[in-house]
């Protein structure tokens, strides 16, 4: 069992580690670590890293320049949305049958009627696509300038600014949002977890925001020599595709770590749905972990979770979603998408 917690212990220097890190200790740890600005650290949750936020805030005005700093991210967006769409359709087929799936597929807006949260929305690249697919979208980001840019951009598009409450941006973080009662059908956190200080707390917060039966989508970078070579050496220093300091190798998260997290994570039953309504087998039985079984090669089964690599093809300038069968063969050595579903009965 890969210990995600050991990974955290490396960072929490005062040694008060252990699974039950309380909020004040986390706060102290991060304040001691970051010598610069204390404002965001004190005001918002501790998983937010101030230098990362400052780095992305500086680049805010470049978010919507499709050939600039974020061109790779722009090119990745259709692939991510395609993946989300595929998974929603599969889930519809599982839950409601083939006919419902076919009907949903024939519509353009597969997310109609769903509440979607985009954690770390940045300039709103993903949020806008999700809103166009019919979802009631909320995009949150820890950087205020990013929220400003995202709002301004969305306000210029009549499709996004006219139809009611379908796209909303808020300057907050996942941990803060957990305190509010609202829960979401789909929670996305694309390219965020490799920038936070405490991935366990961050993941728990995101997972708590998911409704039972809802979906959690993550996209991040694995921590392998290949990913160091591609994203940091080649991407930042040699080819200068992204600014130096965008990625920190020690913060990359491996898919096996995510899988093992969800093999032990159980949703607390005090969230929205009430298990006592269903005739309990044992009222003190805690709900099952999100991933209950994996295959021999460590990958989860199709209905519970999925790991898919995405590869950048330099000569055609586009990202390619690798097929499921290539995952055990190393397609997830660099960028990958992770999907997991919250059990319905929790």
């Amino acid at each position: 069992m890969i210990d995600v917690y050991a990974h955290i212990r490396v960072r929490v220097t005062n040694g008060i580690g252990g699974p039950a890190l309380c909020r004040t200790r986390q706060l102290a740890a991060s304040c001691r670590q970051e010598s610069d600005s204390r404002i965001s650290a004190a005001a918002t949750s501790s998983t937010v890293n101030a230098t990362e936020i400052a780095h992305f805030s500086r680049l805010s005005s470049l978010w919507w320049n499709e050939q600039g700093e974020f061109s790779l991210l722009h090119r990745m967006n259709p692939v991510r949305v395609r993946y989300i769409r595929e998974k929603i359709l599969e889930a519809t087929c599982e839950d409601q049958g083939e006919d419902a799936r076919r009907e949903l597929e024939s519509k353009c807006a597969v997310l109609t009627g769903m509440d979607v949260l985009d954690v770390g929305c940045g300039g709103g690249l993903l949020s806008e696509s999700l809103a166009r697919l019919g979802a009631r979208t909320i995009g949150i980001d820890a950087s205020e300038s990013n929220i400003g840019i995202a709002s301004t951009h969305a306000s210029g598009d009549p499709q996004l600014s006219s139809s009611g409450n379908s796209l909303e941006y808020r300057h907050t973080s996942a941990e803060q949002l957990v305190k509010e009662p609202k829960r979401f059908d789909v929670v996305c956190s694309m390219e965020v977890i490799e920038h936070v200080d405490n991935p366990v707390a961050f993941l728990s917060a995101c997972a708590q925001l998911v409704k039972p039966g809802g979906h959690l989508f993550l996209s991040t970078i694995a921590r392998t020599p290949l990913s160091y070579f591609i994203t940091i050496l080649a991407g930042e220093y040699v080819l200068r595709k992204v600014a130096v300091g965008t990625h920190t190798y020690s913060k990359f998260v491996n898919p096996s770590e995510l899988i093992s997290f969800f093999q032990t994570y159980r949703s607390s039953p005090s969230s929205s749905s009430n298990p006592t309504d269903f005739g309990h087998i044992g009222s003190d039985v805690s709900p099952r972990p999100w991933i209950t079984r994996t295959y021999a090669h460590g990958l989860p089964t199709r209905l519970e979770a999925d790991v898919r690599g995405i590869v950048y093809i330099p000569w055609s300038g586009e990202w390619k979603l690798m097929p499921r069968s290539s995952t055990p063969w190393g397609a997830v050595e660099c960028n990958y998408l992770f999907w997991v579903r919250r059990p319905l009965d929790s």
Binding site: W64, E66, Q67, V81, G156, D157, G164
Partner: protein
């Protein structure tokens, strides 16, 4: 109501001012998802392709603007034996696309003509190549000759049934400007009737001098061919019972440019004669009776004789008797029998009799030209540097002639445009499926990637063909004649070439080249073909050496 986290107060004044500017510049501006400028076949086909797709039809608001009067085209009709002078050959690939979007059924099929064979020969050496559609696996026709107006009328009829597409005609585009504002500067199209349209995506389907292309700041690369194409609709006697029906296209490559005969019906065909500008002007202004004789002679007489006839024409011989006299003299001095198919002015063949052996190698004799169909237009090679606008020209895309113009010798111009439209419509629908902004650069890149290189290949091939056949230098003539005659023997190579040019809708370009590869393999094994090829090459080299010797050392 939408709720956004407002930026900090220091920007509030600026925010208000920006809003004021934006509302001023977009006053009365109607929001559109797609604005198509240009109501030619490409623009109309794009609107129809998007209207035919259920996803696009329900989510996109499309407006098409055309400066001319489209109601005349929608009500266009002509008597059965009269044909318009702008015709195009629609390849199988394009037909397949038009069928898919439900347009082909609206085209009046009685006015189209399938092409089963194509005869192409060299004007200097007489080397010939014959393409026959029967070698292609699944289709019996290579292309269909269709009048452009027939196609446009079909598209307009289909669009009039589609409420989500608004067609505005007889209104010109006065100017296109970029909206002033922060990040969302959409193009604003100002029309001559005072309406302003705000476009998420602006499509330039507005022909060679595209205002959309200049708005987008896209430069183009190309040159003028110093050639004008003369078009006309020709009347001739129907083919006799001993000949193939009028489904064969003929093209002769003269040094001044190719002359093409494209069949439209048993007794009517279309002419496209690309020639030097001074000759084209003379042809255009010629009196009745002259042009028919010149056309007949241009397909039959050897090149030196034609030079004499051009000279007579340019020196001022206007009447048809003078031209007739010259042609008769030429035929006599070239020794053309009046019973051969190569005779035109001295021809003693009657219409219903048994034709001579080589009658199928030449088009029928033209008897008259339909009134008012003689026209000419200049030819250019032009390719835009990019199909998608960037920076100040973002949210624009080019299709059809606005993106590229090509020499008509291979009949590819309209087909390339329809291919562009097919690719762009699929690209837009894909972007919609992924919730993308259809005007963004990221959403449009697959279109450019799919089409730019394909178009470039076809255009440069056609350009090289034109350049090769414009030369009269003997080595070039010899090389192209040998090449042509060799390829004429290789059926599978010809099939591959036809499929690459779009004659088969099912197979992609790649399988055309598979056939080509197989044919090369079979060539390696065929002893007789290789003997023939080596024989030809050997004879040609001897001839070349002999001529070179004569020139260097004088006559032996």
């Amino acid at each position: 109501m939408a709720f956004f986290a407002k930026p900090r107060s220091s920007a509030r004044l600026g925010c208000r001012r920006r809003l004021f500017l934006r509302s001023f510049s977009s006053e009365h501006a109607r929001d559109n998802d797609i604005v198509i400028v240009g109501g030619g076949p490409a623009g109309l086909a794009l609107a129809a392709a998007l209207a035919a797709n259920p996803i696009a039809k329900n989510s996109l608001k499309i407006t098409l603007i055309e400066g001319g009067d489209l109601s005349k085209i929608q009500d266009w009709g002509m008597p059965p034996n009269a044909y318009s002078n702008r015709v195009s050959s629609i390849t199988h690939t394009s037909q397949h696309f038009l069928n898919r979007i439900g347009i082909w059924d609206y085209v009046e099929h009685a006015r189209t003509n399938p092409i089963h064979q194509m005869q192409v020969w060299d004007g200097v050496s007489g080397a010939r190549i014959n393409f026959d559609a029967s070698v292609i696996p699944e289709s019996s026709e290579m292309a269909r000759m269709t009048e452009n107006l027939n196609l446009q009328r079909a598209l307009l009829r289909k669009l009039s049934d589609t409420p989500s597409v608004q067609v505005i005609h007889s209104v010109k585009v006065e100017s296109i400007q970029r909206e002033t504002g922060d990040h969302n500067d959409w193009p604003l199209v100002h029309l001559s009737n005072g309406v302003t349209l705000r476009a998420r995506l602006l499509v330039g389907a507005d022909g060679f001098n595209s205002p959309v292309r200049s708005f987008a700041g896209i430069s183009s690369y190309g040159w003028s061919y110093d050639t004008q194409a003369v078009v006309a609709t020709l009347n001739h006697a129907p083919r006799g019972p001993f000949q193939v029906p009028n489904n064969t296209a003929y093209q002769r490559f003269l040094p001044t440019g190719p002359i093409a005969f494209l069949p439209l019906s048993p007794c009517t065909s279309s002419l496209v004669w690309s020639t030097k500008p001074h000759l084209a002007a003379a042809l255009n202004k010629s009196s009745p009776g002259v042009l028919e004789q010149l056309i007949n002679a241009a397909f039959r007489l050897p090149e030196p004789s034609l030079q004499y006839i051009y000279r007579r024409l340019l020196e001022g011989a206007k009447s048809s008797e003078e031209i007739n006299e010259e042609i008769v003299f030429r035929e006599r001095s070239d020794g053309i029998s009046s019973h051969s198919a190569y005779a035109s002015a001295t021809s003693m063949l009657s219409d219903g009799g048994i034709p001579p052996d080589d009658a199928d190698a030449l088009p029928p004799l033209v008897t008259s030209i339909q009134q008012g169909t003689i026209a000419s237009f200049p030819l250019r090679y032009n390719h835009a540097e990019s199909y998608i606008g960037e920076g100040a020209g973002s949210r624009t895309v080019l299709v059809g002639d606005a993106a590229h113009t090509v020499h008509p010798l291979a009949g590819q111009g309209l087909n390339l445009g329809l291919g562009d439209v097919d690719a762009l419509s699929r690209c837009i629908i894909q972007a919609l499926r992924h919730g993308g902004d259809i005007g963004s650069y990221t959403a449009l890149i697959p279109y450019a990637r799919e089409r730019y290189f394909e178009n470039h290949k076809v255009m440069s091939t056609v350009d090289k063909l034109h350049k090769v056949y414009s030369s009269t230098a003997q080595p070039v003539v010899w090389a192209r004649s040998v090449g042509l005659e060799v390829i004429n023997e290789l059926d599978s190579v010809k099939a591959a070439l036809m499929m690459n040019a779009g004659a088969s809708s099912r197979l992609q370009n790649a399988s055309g080249w598979d056939l080509f590869a197989k044919s090369i393999e079979s060539l390696a094994g065929a002893a007789s073909t290789s003997k023939m090829v080596s024989g030809m090459i050997g004879a040609g080299i001897q001839e070349l050496a002999k001529n070179a010797g004569q020139r260097i050392f004088g006559r032996p």
